[in-house]
């Protein structure tokens, strides 16, 4: 096996036993990036020089006997997380030349552990989208079929893991932006409970929904990365304090006898692909054969989650993106009449279509006369959805179902119809609305494209989600690899 095909825990063994150096590993991944990147277009920046310097530091840590699970492991960071002195664009013309003067807390954590950042991943502009087609710079392709989207918004993060351009990546998830691309690219992706991981240095989209999480090649690696990024941060007042620090690797057990697994009948409604439905039904049988108790539950308000989500997330986005005025950072217009006109021209030139659409929707929902009808109504529906889950979790320990109603769709297929694009998030959005932890892992193929299974747990119960995912992964034994077919000649 080539170095770039290995998982974090496999690379760690080689590094620990000094069979390879961190510099060897980094060079192998940089080589791999040069080989596949022209086909996949997963990255906005390749940080070669920085990576080789970090790899040397990692080798020094290893020489000093100071190795941990992530020392010398190559990582790709979604380009909406601030990296000190390394351009952070959010895939927007607005931030095309923005160089952050500080690191996001998650980036700082990984750096301190000796992880080696090899690049920054493409995304839908400001993380708004489900296909990575909304990037101002490039369209990322799905390694399983290059004529299809990788999902989004963390499409570059997911595609880079699937294409072995890194051992793992970080994404952010506001309505499914880690789990949906993980599903479409056949990798493992987790959105932790809201408040488990610091958002400091993550460029804000919708602050009450955003959460950072890992994209990895297996569930073990997911637990390893979660260990590195979870925890209280005084710089993020919404990151939860007074929680006992857990070792998530302790939950990687094959025994799930007696665990109560719920599936909602509402998951199997209109819009669900037959191939996806079949894979999910077989997955439930696998859980049953492992001794889990399968129960049908009901989430009656699920059907309203997407509508509530688009109001709440767009309202928060319109406030958060008000900061882009062209003065302190970001794109600034050259031709304008006065101060107000400078704001208007700078913003209109800097933001792309989808970002403007969400700002408009959010501003409308918050505007005088509509606040109660839309924003406040959506917050009330949020309460109903939260209560739906609370009730369901009285009877079950985890809820499983499809991550996305379809497998990867064709590039260009949904760009003209924003509402059709939004429907890609129908199963992931409610989990953000309720702030719960959710994980997607591959559970089969449909027409040679991966299908993702979503496992959702109670607040801060990542442990049982990882336990169920680990047991399922062992039993399902999904080991297909992307083919890189369908590329332009």
């Amino acid at each position: 096996m080539e170095l770039h095909e290995l998982k974090i825990h496999e690379l760690h063994e080689l590094l620990k036993n000094k069979e390879v150096s961190a510099v060897d590993v980094t060079k192998a991944y940089l080589e791999r990036i040069k080989e596949v990147e022209p086909q996949v277009d997963a990255l906005i920046s390749i940080t070669e020089e920085y990576a080789l310097k970090k790899a040397e530091e990692a080798d020094k840590m290893i020489q000093d006997g100071n190795i941990n699970d992530l020392t010398g492991i190559p990582v790709i960071i979604k380009d909406n997380m601030c990296t000190e002195n390394i351009r952070t664009t959010c895939a927007s013309k607005m931030l095309e030349d923005f160089v952050p003067p500080y690191n996001a807390t998650v980036v700082e954590n990984l750096s301190n552990l000796g992880a080696v950042m090899v690049g920054k991943a493409n995304l839908d502009e400001f993380a708004m989208g489900s296909s990575t087609e909304n990037s101002a710079f490039k369209t990322t392709k799905n390694p399983w079929d290059l004529s299809r989207v990788p999902g989004g918004s963390s499409g570059g993060s997911a595609a880079s893991v699937a294409a072995d351009e890194c051992a793992f990546s970080l994404g952010s998830d506001t309505g499914g932006s880690i789990r949906q691309p993980a599903s479409l690219c056949g990798v493992v992706g987790m959105k932790p409970t809201y408040g488990l991981v610091s958002r400091y240095g993550l460029v804000a989209f919708a602050s009450s929904l955003d959460q950072i999480g890992p994209l990895t090649k297996d569930v073990t690696d997911c637990a390893i990365v979660l260990n590195a990024i979870a925890g209280h941060d005084p710089k993020d007042s919404t990151s939860v304090d007074k929680m006992r620090k857990k070792d998530y690797k302790e939950f990687l057990k094959e025994d799930i006898k007696g665990i109560r697994i719920g599936y909602a009948k509402e998951f199997f409604g209109e819009g669900l692909d037959d191939g996806v439905r079949e894979s999910i039904e077989s997955s439930l049988k696998i859980f049953e054969s492992l001794g889990a108790e399968i129960k049908e539950i009901s989430l009656p308000y699920l059907d309203y989650a997407l509508a509530a989500y688009y109001i709440v997330s767009s309202a928060e986005a319109s406030s958060n993106l008000a900061r882009y005025d062209g003065i302190r950072y970001g794109h600034v217009a050259t031709n304008y009449e006065d101060l107000i006109d400078m704001y208007m021209v700078s913003r209109s030139e800097g933001f792309g279509k989808e970002v403007k659409r969400r700002i408009m929707l959010g501003t409308y929902a918050l505007s005088s006369g509509y606040y109660d009808a839309y924003y406040n109504k959506a917050l009330k529906v949020r309460t109903l959805i939260k209560k739906d889950y609370e009730k369901a979790f009285e009877d079950v320990d985890v809820i499983v179902g499809p991550t996305s109603p379809t497998t990867a769709f064709k590039i260009g297929e949904r760009v003209e119809d924003p509402l059709a694009m939004y429907l890609a998030d129908v199963y992931t959005v409610p989990v953000n609305i309720a702030g719960l932890p959710g994980l997607s892992l591959p559970c089969g193929l449909s027409n040679d494209l991966p299908v993702g299974l979503q496992i959702v747990g109670r607040h801060f119960d990542e442990g049982i989600v990882l336990n169920a995912a680990y047991a399922f992964e062992k039993a399902c034994n999904f080991n297909a690899k992307p083919s890189f077919k369908g590329g332009a000649k």
Partner: protein, 95 residues
């Protein structure tokens, strides 16, 4: 409810965005579709439901009022296109 072109023009002003006529047509049409979709929330009676703005029940988070180093002025200004004497420079607003 539906959204009119005049409303779109008003909202664009509030959001500090400028659109061409063609863009106004497109956004009026697309926002109208989205608004019609989210109108399904009105099927639900929420008279006795409290709104949830934040999922984690936290109130104000305080810390001790201690003097800590701030970010260097140079770093704060490093991304500004227009600056002068250690300040951000903006167009004149008072004649």
């Amino acid at each position: 409810m539906s959204i009119t072109k005049d409303e779109v023009i008003h909202v664009a002003k509030l959001a500090r965005l400028k659109f061409t006529d063609e863009e106004l047509e497109m956004y009026s049409h697309q926002l109208d579709n989205i608004i019609k979709y989210v109108d399904k929330l009105n099927e639900l009676n929420t008279d006795d439901v409290e709104p949830t703005a934040h999922i984690v029940p936290i109130s104000n988070v305080f810390r001790e009022d201690e003097v800590m180093p701030s970010m260097d002025r140079e770093k704060i200004l490093m991304n500004a296109k227009e600056k002068e004497d250690g300040c951000f420079k903006v167009p004149k607003i008072i004649e």
